[in-house]
Each structure stands twice: as C-alpha cells, then as structure tokens.
C-alpha cells in the first residue's frame, strides 16, 4: 500500500506524485533504501525551488539507476546515452542561453565512457552544472568495476579485488578537472550522513547559483552510498564512505572563482533575410540565368601544376568567365592526397547544356604549369585538342593530332613585376588560343568577381592577361611566316 511506502513527494522542487513512474506507489521512489540518489534528488529539488529557477532548469538523466530522475525532479528533462550528457548539455546551453542545464552522471558514465565529453565540456567552460555520483561501482548494470573502484574492492568484474597492476588505480576526477583553467567551481562532498549532507546541500546550491548567474562550469562530486550493490547495511555503507572512500577521495572545495568571473551572455540568433543576404554578399551578386544552347560545343579543360602556381584559382577564373556568359559550367579540384603532395589539378567544363560528370578525363585543352603535369596528362588530351604549357617545362613533343603552345608565362609575369601572376599570363594565352567559344571580354570580367576583395589587383592582372594573349599571338604569327 502506498501509505506504507517511504514518501518524499511534496518536497520543494520534487513532483507531489510520480505518474511517470506509474505502479501502485505513486509517491514512492524506485530507489533502494539507503541509496544516495534519493538524497541528492532532494537537494537538487530544494536548491531549484529556493533559487526559483525550475522553469529554466533542464536535467540530463544518465544511463543507470538515475535514468528516471525525470520521475521526480519538477523541471524539464532529457535522457542521455551513456557518457554523452556534457555534449548534450552543450547543445542545449548554446541553443538556449537562459536554460540552466544539469548533467547528472555516475562514475562509469562520467569517468569512463564519457571521460572525453566530461573534460572537454569543462575545458570549454560550458554553462553547465555537473553532479557526479561516485559510489565506486556500476550500480544498475550489475556491480562491475568502475574507474573509481577502490584498490582491493570486490566487484562483479574484480572478484579477487581491484588489482592496480591489472586494472589501474581509482581515478580522481575533481583533481583532473582542477588542472583546467575554465571551470568556475569544483567541490567534492559526501552523502554518507546528516552532517555531510548539510555540506553537500550548500555545494549543490552554489553550483546552481553559478548557473543562475550564467558564470560558467560548476562540478560537484558526491561520495554516494550504494548499499545494495556493495552488500552493506546503512551503518556499514556510511562507514565505508567516511573511512575508506574519503581516504582515497578527500573531501575538498578545489576552487570557487564565482566572485571573480564575468557572466557568459550569448546573443539571440539573427534569422533575418537581410542579414543573411549581407553576410553572403547577395546584394552584390548578379542574377545570371543559364540558357540551353545546343549549338555551343562543350569543352573540357584540365589545368595542372604545382601547388602555389595558381592552378585552382585559374580554373575558378575560367569558370567565372563562362558563368558570366550564362554558360553551364562546373569546376572540380582533384582534392586527393596530391593536394598535400605539392601538385594540383582541376577540371573545368563549359557547356551549352547541363553537365554530366564534372571530371575531365580527356581534355579539349590541357594547361600545364610544369613538366610532371605535362607528362601525366598530355597522353589524355583529345585528338584535335590543344596543350598550352609553361615554357620553363622545357621542350615537349606534341602527341599526334594535338596542337602544342609553349608560353613563357612566368617570364611575362616577371617582366610585369608580378612573378606570382604567371597563371594570369597563362589565362591570357588560353583566351587567345583556347578556342573555347567565350567572348574575349569574359576573361577580364571574371577578375572583377575573383578579385572582388582585392580590386587594386585588377588593372595589373588585366595587363598581364593581355600580355599573355599577345605572346601567343606573336607565336602564331611567327609560325605562319
């Protein structure tokens, strides 16, 4: 009968009855007699009520016996995967600046499977109160060894007692977190008896006060009784905590920086279209409609060279030139490991119709900035196609049916006082000889977009572009003679 059950309902911050739990005892908890969870629930409920923050509170329930914290605590609730509560807390806290988030975690959850999340959230100084229940054992799962199991302690997986030679030593989480800069408050308390619980109550309230004030990360470790799994009676478990656990895990306020830190306030998200258009630069963009044109012969261009020679940016400039004319266009970088290995290449397709694969395997035009690229891609050039290459790559015999043009691009750019702009000279050569079906002015126009952030560079590049074109023109005239 309900009347005979131990009643904690009616307590501040705790639901009066527990309908989420169901069953025949609507005001009794599911916790074992003597369990620390019931005590800590009361302390949290009290602190929430006293600080008048229940509307703002979200408790993240762990995997373990306290997964059902949402039966009892009168606030918002979310249940977490084992170890992930601090990450979930981060998501809630970043999304809702006024939310007061609590991660309620046991020793396996917090110190084993979720140790990374624990440390990283602390190190970011998330606005989060972590309540760490250390009872030296996995409770709900069946009494296995926890990271905090004492040396020699018998558990389901240390039947001969924890041997540090095989299983390491108990982990001291407060001490680990105390090495970090960001946390505001760290304290270890005990739930063993009335005297200790009074101190624990103050720590809980402090941790939540820090959250109410938006000051940052607070962490409280509770040495907590699990008499059922540890097979002890009420006196035995209190003695175990006071004498054995405390020896390993000394009770201590490790830090309290709440008086010296500033609140962390995050602004509300701006959803307006005006702001988005501004940050993406839409106001400066043109609207270019692509029109189908079956008469326009599609062209595939491969541009290749060393990293730093402007291979990819030349490809983008070409794509921009074609886009500016309303052509269908794609640009695709070879982003493979070569990107890190010093060579790079990209494919550009210009077409009058929607483009299939953006990868150019057999280019109409190959632009090669160095010898390795020339040798690698020259055999793939289409019959009737063209290779434009940097003269510094040396003499090169044309593959059958392929036109070859050697351009002193680096020399041209250097003569104009901008040796790094060899790709612009090459772009001019492509404009002159590439036969891509794009109007001449499209090439120069592309710079207005590609150099939008450095408009001062445009005149110089236009000059080099023309010089590159002129060089090819002279070569062509010479060959005709």
């Amino acid at each position: 009968m309900a009347a005979k059950e131990k009643v904690i309902g009616g307590h501040p911050g705790i639901y009066a009855t527990f309908p989420r739990k169901g069953g025949a005892a609507p005001t009794a908890t599911h916790y074992c007699p003597g369990c620390g969870h019931g005590i800590l629930h009361k302390l949290i409920g009290e602190a929430m009520a006293e600080l008048e923050i229940q509307d703002r509170c979200v408790v993240i329930s762990p995997v373990g016996c306290a997964v059902f914290a949402y039966y009892y605590l009168d606030c918002g609730h979310v249940q977490a995967a084992h170890g992930r509560a601090p990450a979930i807390a981060t998501g809630i806290s970043r999304a809702e600046d006024d939310a007061i988030v609590m991660a309620y975690q046991g020793d396996g959850d917090l110190a084993s499977i979720g140790l990374n999340e624990t440390i990283q959230a602390a190190n970011r100084g998330e606005k989060l109160a972590v309540f760490f229940i250390n009872n030296t054992v996995y409770g709900m799962t069946g009494g296995q060894m926890a990271p905090t199991t004492l040396i020699g302690e018998v558990t389901a997986t240390t039947p001969a007692g924890r041997d540090p030679r095989d299983m390491g030593y108990p982990m001291h989480i407060c001490e680990i977190l105390d090495t970090l800069k960001a946390p505001v408050f760290i304290e270890r308390v005990s739930l063993s008896d009335i005297e200790h619980i009074r101190k624990a109550r103050r720590a809980v309230k402090k941790a939540l006060q820090i959250q109410k004030d938006k000051l940052g990360y607070s962490f409280v470790e509770f040495l907590s009784p699990c008499p059922t799994i540890l097979r002890m009676d009420a006196q035995g478990i209190a003695k175990f905590i006071n004498e054995q656990m405390e020896k390993e895990f000394p009770l201590k306020k490790f830090r309290d920086r709440s008086a010296e830190v500033q609140p962390i306030i995050r602004a509300e998200s701006d959803y307006s279209k005006e702001s988005l258009d501004r940050v993406f630069g839409c106001t400066e963009m043109q609207c270019i409609e692509m029109e189908k044109d079956r008469e326009f012969a599609p062209k595939g261009i491969k541009i290749a060279g060393f990293g730093g020679q402007g291979v990819l940016s030349m490809g983008l400039a070409l794509a921009q030139a074609a886009f500016g004319c309303g052509r269908f266009v794609s640009w695709y970088p070879d982003y493979g490991p070569e990107q890190r290995g010093g060579t790079s290449n990209c494919s550009v397709i210009v077409s009058g119709e929607p483009i299939g694969s953006p990868v150019v395997d057999h280019p109409d035009v190959l632009v090669a900035f160095n010898r390795p690229s020339l040798e690698k891609f020259a055999p793939s050039v289409k019959k009737g196609g063209m290779i434009i290459y940097e003269s510094l790559a040396g003499q090169f015999e044309a593959p059958e049916g392929v036109k070859v043009i050697s351009v002193p691009a680096t020399q041209i750019a250097t003569d104009k006082g901008a040796h790094q702009a060899a790709n612009t000279a090459m772009f001019g050569a492509l404009m002159q000889a590439g036969n891509l079906g794009l109007p001449r002015e499209a090439y120069g126009n592309a710079f207005r977009v590609t150099f939008a952030k450095k408009p001062k560079l445009i005149p110089k590049n236009l000059d080099i572009l023309e010089a590159g074109a002129q060089a090819v023109k002279l070569l062509e005239m010479a060959s005709k003679k």
Partner: protein, 347 residues
C-alpha cells in the same frame, strides 16, 4: 535573385542558414570539412551557434541537445565519422527529434580513402544504428540541390520529428557550380509542445527514448513504424529523364546520376531507348514508380559507386526482376563508356 559560383559543401551552409538553422556542431573530416569551415565563418556573423566538438560522438550529441531545445541544428560528416555518429542518430530517432545530417560520402571500408563513393547507402537508408528506425534520406546531384535539399531536409525533419540525412559524396562536396541563393529566409520558432528548452512552457516536457515496460516500448515502435509508413506514402520523390518510351532504365542517384544521364544521351544516339530514373529520396525509396516501370517491362541497370546496395532495393520493389549493376569503388567515378557498354548488353 542572386547567383554565384559556389562549392557544394558551401551550398549546404547557405541552405541551412536560410532554412532557419541556428546551431552547427562538427568535427573535421575530409571530404566534408569545408562545411565545418563555412559554418565557423558564417554562423557567428548572425549570432548563430557554432562549436567544434571534441569527437563525432560529441558532435552528434550536441545536435541531440540543440534538437531537444527545439532548434534547427545541422551536422556534417563523412563515412568513418558517420559510423561514429550512429549511436547519437539512433537516440535522436528513438526520441523523435528533428535534425539534419549531411554525409559527404568517401571510400571505405575502414579508413579507405578520401575519394568519392556511395557506399553509405545502407547505413543512411536502413537505419544505421541499433533498433528499428529509419532516417529520411535525400540525394542531391548538383550544387544547387546541395542547398535546396538541405532546406528540404529541415522541412521534412520537422514535419515528422525525425533525423534527415542529405547523402552526397566527395565530388558533390567539392565541385563548384552556379547557385541561385534562396529567396526566403525562415525564422524558426521552437515548438513548445515537445521541446525542452528551459522555459516555463516546456518545464513539463521530457525527451527520452527509454521505456522499460515491454508493452510500452512495443507501442512506441508501432508509432514509429506508422510514421515511416506515412513518410513512404507522402514523401517519395524522383526525377526522370527520357523515361516515357525507355526500354532500358538506368537507376542512379547523386553524382553517378549525372554520368548516367550522359549515358542515356549516348545510347539514344545509337538508337537504344534508354532512360534515367533518379531517386531524389532514398528513404523513402520511390518504390511505386519502380514497380510501374517493371510492369511496363523495362530492364534495369543500377549505376552506383557501391557494391549494389541500392540494387537490392530496385530488385525488391521491381518484384524481383533481374537488375544489372555498373559500379566503381575506391574513389573512382563510374565511366560513361562502362555504362554505355552495359546498356548495349542489356538492350
């Protein structure tokens, strides 16, 4: 209207932000990292929230947190990272939370390499984590669709309170094409009937995927299955190219579908009546349309960069018709000539 040349990975962030997404949590991985970079650049400019997480698991759990608070939240990753995220995704599906995850698929298994593949099909479309659940899966095939489908994914995720995956690959992520920017921007409001956001209106709410009672858990599963049935009924989307008189139907999605489209044109020039069926949603798979084509006597070729993961669905929904496969692995794209050769064999 504004348009600009944009990379696929950048277009994802454009779509997300105009769709009212205000939280991004990610971890670096090639070939998806540019999504993370773009989020770090653009989200803070309009006071939206960005965190580089400590791990893929942490990132997806931050997503779980922001989704719990009712916000529109985005994550992006690639194969190995998606594998790590599966724990979070099954919790999100179980708790019926909306979110969008972009998978820029790379070659596997294991570390594989960073080249494109479509081998995450099963992981995305068949659940991927433990338990009986499904993600909504959209498959873009252009930079424009990387943006548009990310927006659509948010719409569907919130309509059904379900995770939605935009399944792309390394080519789509890195290629640059013209993008028309969205003409509207959504101002997201949280739904206080289910969100847990630290507000008075949400104080009584609970987000969870646990039900210890077997019957209760069974009822929850029935409810989820009924939701997936509604999604199948209402949301299947596809695109056809020269299907009307097609005898040989290429079924292909994403980057492969563009090559398949070129193959259709090449086959038509040879006088073969080929067509392309491109699923836009991979879950739900456009099963009725596949059945209709099968009933017309069409012959199917699945064109995909995987070992026929999608082919199994075509087989199933065509009523166990034979389905040929043209595939490549390891980062290699399917070659036009290989598709044309197979079309000639089948025709």
């Amino acid at each position: 209207m504004a348009s600009q040349l944009v990379a696929g990975n950048s277009a994802v962030i454009v779509g997300a932000m105009y769709a009212g997404c205000d939280c991004f949590f990610g971890y670096p991985i090639t070939p998806a990292s540019e999504i993370l970079h773009e989020a770090s650049k653009f989200f803070p400019k309009v006071d939206r929230k960005f965190v580089q997480a400590e791990s893929e698991e942490a990132a997806i759990n931050m997503v779980y947190g922001a989704a719990t608070a009712g916000h529109r939240v985005l994550a992006a990753s690639s194969g190995p990272g998606m594998s790590l995220k599966q724990e979070g995704i099954t919790y999100i599906a179980g708790a019926e939370l909306p979110c969008v995850i972009v998978d820029i698929c790379r070659a596997g298994p294991g570390l594989g390499n960073i080249g494109p593949e479509q081998s995450d099909y099963n992981q995305a479309c068949k659940g991927g984590g433990h338990g009986c659940y499904n993600n909504i899966v959209l498959a873009p095939a252009s930079v424009q669709e990387m943006c548009d489908f990310t927006m659509k994914a948010f719409e569907l995720a919130f309509k059904y309170r379900n995770p939605a995956i935009v399944l792309a690959d390394g080519v789509l992520g890195h290629m640059v094409e013209p993008l028309k920017f969205p003409e509207t921007a959504l101002e997201h409001k949280i739904d206080t009937t289910w969100a847990v956001a630290g507000k008075a209106e949400t104080r009584g709410n609970l987000v969870t995927s646990i039900a210890l009672n077997f019957d209760e858990m069974e009822q929850h599963n029935y409810k989820l299955q009924e939701k997936y049935r509604r999604i199948k009924e209402n949301e299947a989307a596809w695109d056809g190219y020269k299907l009307d008189d097609a005898k040989v139907v290429l079924v292909s999605y994403g980057i492969s579908s563009r090559i398949a489209r070129s193959a259709v044109d090449a086959a038509r020039k040879m006088g073969i009546k080929a067509g392309l069926f491109r699923p836009i949603t991979l879950f739900p798979f456009p099963e009725k349309e596949i059945r209709r084509l099968a009933d017309k006597g069409c012959k199917f070729i699945s064109v995909e960069m995987s070992n026929g993961q999608m082919r199994e669905d075509i087989r199933l929904y065509s009523g166990c018709q034979p389905v040929e496969l043209v595939c490549r692995y390891g980062g290699n794209l399917i070659q036009l000539d290989d598709i044309v050769k197979k079309i000639k064999e089948v025709a």
